[in-house]
C-alpha cells in the first residue's frame, strides 16, 4: 500500500491522530507522513477534518433533514450547474447526485424545523430547475460517519486471559 493510502486509512478513522502517532502506526517516518498529508490536501482527496457530532445531545442542537430534489435540465443547465447553486447555501451540509427516483439527496442543517422548511420552500423550491422536493426530518441518528452512537464501552471480556 502506498504511503498516502496508509496515512489516509489512519486519518479516516481518527483525524486527530498526530503526525508522530501516524508515523508509528504506519511505519513511515514523520517527514513522510507530513508529506503524504500535504499531498492529500493539495490533491483535494482530504477536504477537511471534522468531529462526528451527535447533535441530539447538544442543548439547542441542530435539526437535520434529508431532502429529495427532482430537477429538470435544459441545454444550458446541467447537474453541475444546479448542484453548484444548491451547494452554495450554508444550510446545505451534504449534497449528492443519486440514482433512482430523484436526482439530488441533500442533507440540510438548521436550528429549527421551521428554519429548514423555510429554507426549502423559499430558497430551493423556487429555483427554476427544481420540479419537486420531499423533505424527511431526521428523528434519531444511530450511526454517522461510520461511528455508532451509543454509550460507553461494552467490553465484557475477561481482563486477563491466556
Amino acid at each position: 500500500m502506498d504511503a498516502e493510502r496508509e496515512v489516509l486509512d489512519v486519518l479516516a478513522r481518527n483525524a486527530r491522530e498526530d503526525i508522530d502517532d501516524i508515523a508509528a502506526q504506519t511505519g513511515l517516518d514523520a517527514a513522510a507522513v507530513a508529506d503524504a498529508i500535504a499531498a492529500l490536501e493539495a490533491d483535494h482527496v482530504v477536504h477537511g477534518y471534522q468531529a462526528v457530532v451527535d447533535w441530539d445531545r447538544v442543548d439547542e442542537g441542530k435539526i437535520r433533514a434529508v431532502v429529495e430534489i427532482n430537477v429538470e435540465l435544459d441545454r444550458e443547465t446541467g447537474y453541475e450547474q444546479v448542484a453548484d447553486r444548491i451547494a452554495k447555501f450554508p444550510a446545505v451540509d451534504a449534497l449528492h447526485l443519486v440514482s433512482g427516483d430523484y436526482d439530488f439527496a441533500v442533507e440540510v442543517l438548521g436550528e429549527t424545523m421551521q428554519d429548514v422548511s423555510r429554507f426549502i420552500s423559499e430558497q430551493v423550491a423556487p429555483m427554476p430547475e427544481v420540479t419537486q422536493t420531499v423533505t424527511h426530518y431526521i428523528m434519531e441518528t444511530y450511526k454517522d460517519g461510520g461511528v455508532r452512537f451509543e454509550d460507553g464501552d461494552d467490553d465484557d471480556r475477561l481482563s486477563v486471559s491466556p
Binding site: D9, D21, A24, Q25, T26, R157, S159, V160, P162
Partner: protein, 379 residues
C-alpha cells in the same frame, strides 16, 4: 469428594493470579487479554440468529456440517494446504478441543511430546492428561523466539514422539518462514516425530503470508493442523475450531470426539459458514487495524527502552523488561493500573519478558503505553 490423582496433580494456571489482581480493581487498562476486542462480523452473527429462527438446533454430523468442511478446505488452499473435506477434516468445539483430540489420538502413556516454550499454556496439561510427558524446548529472544534445529537437538527432542508447533505464537507474536520451518521439518523426518501444528493465528500475519509446517516435503502425512474461527473472525465465545490431517489421524480424533463431544455447536457452525463465505473483507480490516496497533506498541516500547522485537503475527508484543517479569507486572498493575502478563507464565524462555496484547483500542493502547513509560522512567 475424593478426586482423581490426575485432577489433583493439574496445577492452577499461572495466569489466574494476574486475573484476580486485575479483577480486584476497576480502573485497569488491560493489555492482558488473549482474545480479539472486535465482535464477530455482523453477517456471521445474523447467520447464527437465522439458524436459530429456522430451528437448526439439532446435532450435526460428528465431523461437522459437510458444507462447512468444504468451505474450510477451500479456505486453506490459501496456505498451500490441500485436504479432503470428507475424510481429512473435523470440526471441533474450539481449537482447544482439536488440540486435546490430537494429543489423545497421537500420544500413548509414556510418550514424550516436545513443546517449544514460551508458548500457549494449555499444551502441557493437555499432554499430561493424555498420559504423555512434556519435554520443554526453550526458544530464545536472540532468535526472535523462532524454533531452531539446534534448540530441538539441545533439548533432546530427537527422542520425542510428537512435537507441538504454535506459530504465529502466543505469547511472543513470533512467526516462522518456510526456510525456518524446513529445518524443523527435516528434524522431524530424521527423528520420526509427528507434529501437532496449532495455527490458530494463521490469518493474523503482517507483511508476510502464513507458512505452515504441513506444506514442507514429507510433513503432510505426519502433521495434524489445528485452526479455528476464534482469532481470525473474533468468534472466541462461539467455540468453533477444526483439525486437518491424514485420514487415520482424523478418523481417530473423530472416534474420541463422537463419544466426548458428539458434534460441535450447530449455531456456531452456521456462523462459521457465513464467516467463510462473506466476511473476508472484515478480516482484512481487522488485520489492518491490528497492524497499526502493532507498529505503535512496538515503537513505544522500544522508545521507552524495553527492547521489543518486531512480532510478525498474532496480536501480542513481547518486550524485554530486563529483570523479574512477575515483579514488574505486579508493580506496574499496582502503580499505574495497567495489566500485562509476565512472560514466565508461558514457560522457560519467557522470563524477563511481558506479554502485551494489542487487542484493545488505539485510545487505550496509547494511554496504557504512556502509563508504562511513566512507570519505567520512575522505576
Amino acid at each position: 469428594m475424593r478426586l482423581s490423582d490426575r485432577a489433583r496433580s493439574l496445577p492452577e494456571s499461572g495466569i489466574r493470579k494476574f486475573f484476580e489482581l486485575a479483577e480486584a480493581r476497576d480502573d485497569v487498562i488491560s493489555l492482558g487479554v488473549g482474545e480479539p476486542d472486535f465482535s464477530a462480523p455482523w453477517a456471521a452473527r445474523t447467520a447464527a440468529i437465522d439458524s436459530l429462527e429456522r430451528g437448526k438446533t439439532s446435532y450435526t454430523s460428528n465431523r461437522g456440517m459437510k458444507e462447512l468442511r468444504e468451505r474450510i478446505t477451500d479456505h486453506h488452499q490459501r496456505y498451500g494446504q490441500s485436504y479432503d473435506p470428507a475424510t481429512e477434516t473435523i470440526v471441533t468445539t474450539g481449537a482447544s478441543e482439536a488440540v486435546d483430540l490430537a494429543f489423545r489420538a497421537l500420544v500413548d502413556p509414556g510418550d514424550t511430546v516436545a513443546v517449544h516454550e514460551p508458548t500457549y499454556i494449555s499444551y502441557g496439561p493437555g499432554i499430561e492428561l493424555a498420559g504423555g510427558t512434556r519435554l520443554t524446548v526453550p526458544t530464545r529472544a536472540a532468535d526472535d523466539f523462532v524454533l531452531t534445529r539446534d534448540a530441538l537437538e539441545s533439548a533432546g527432542a530427537a527422542d520425542a514422539d510428537v512435537l507441538v508447533l504454535c506459530y504465529p505464537n502466543n505469547p511472543t507474536g513470533a512467526t516462522m518462514t518456510d526456510e525456518e520451518l524446513a529445518e524443523v521439518a527435516a528434524f522431524c523426518r530424521d527423528n520420526d516425530l509427528r507434529v501437532v501444528a496449532d495455527e490458530i493465528y494463521a490469518a493474523l500475519t503482517y507483511g508476510t503470508d502464513h507458512a505452515s509446517v504441513a506444506t514442507q516435503p514429507g510433513m503432510r502425512e505426519r502433521t495434524v493442523v489445528i485452526n479455528g474461527f476464534s482469532k481470525a473472525y473474533a468468534m472466541t465465545g462461539l467455540r468453533l475450531g477444526y483439525a486437518l490431517g491424514p485420514t487415520d489421524a482424523i478418523d481417530a480424533m473423530n472416534r474420541i470426539h463422537q463419544y466426548t463431544m458428539l458434534s460441535a455447536p450447530t449455531t456456531a457452525q452456521y456462523a462459521a459458514l457465513e464467516a467463510l463465505e462473506r466476511c473476508d473483507d472484515e478480516v482484512t480490516e481487522m488485520v489492518a487495524e491490528y497492524n497499526r496497533r502493532r507498529r505503535l506498541v512496538v515503537s513505544r516500547f522500544n522508545e521507552m527502552g524495553l527492547d521489543t522485537f518486531e512480532p510478525g503475527g498474532a496480536f501480542y508484543a513481547f518486550p524485554d523488561c530486563d529483570g523479574d517479569d512477575e515483579a514488574f507486572a505486579e508493580e506496574l498493575l499496582e502503580a499505574q493500573g495497567v495489566a500485562v502478563v509476565p512472560g514466565s507464565v508461558f514457560g522457560p524462555g519467557g522470563e524477563g519478558h511481558l506479554r502485551v496484547s494489542y487487542a484493545t483500542s488505539m485510545r487505550e493502547l496509547k494511554e496504557a503505553t504512556s502509563r508504562i513509560a511513566t512507570f519505567v522512567a520512575n522505576r
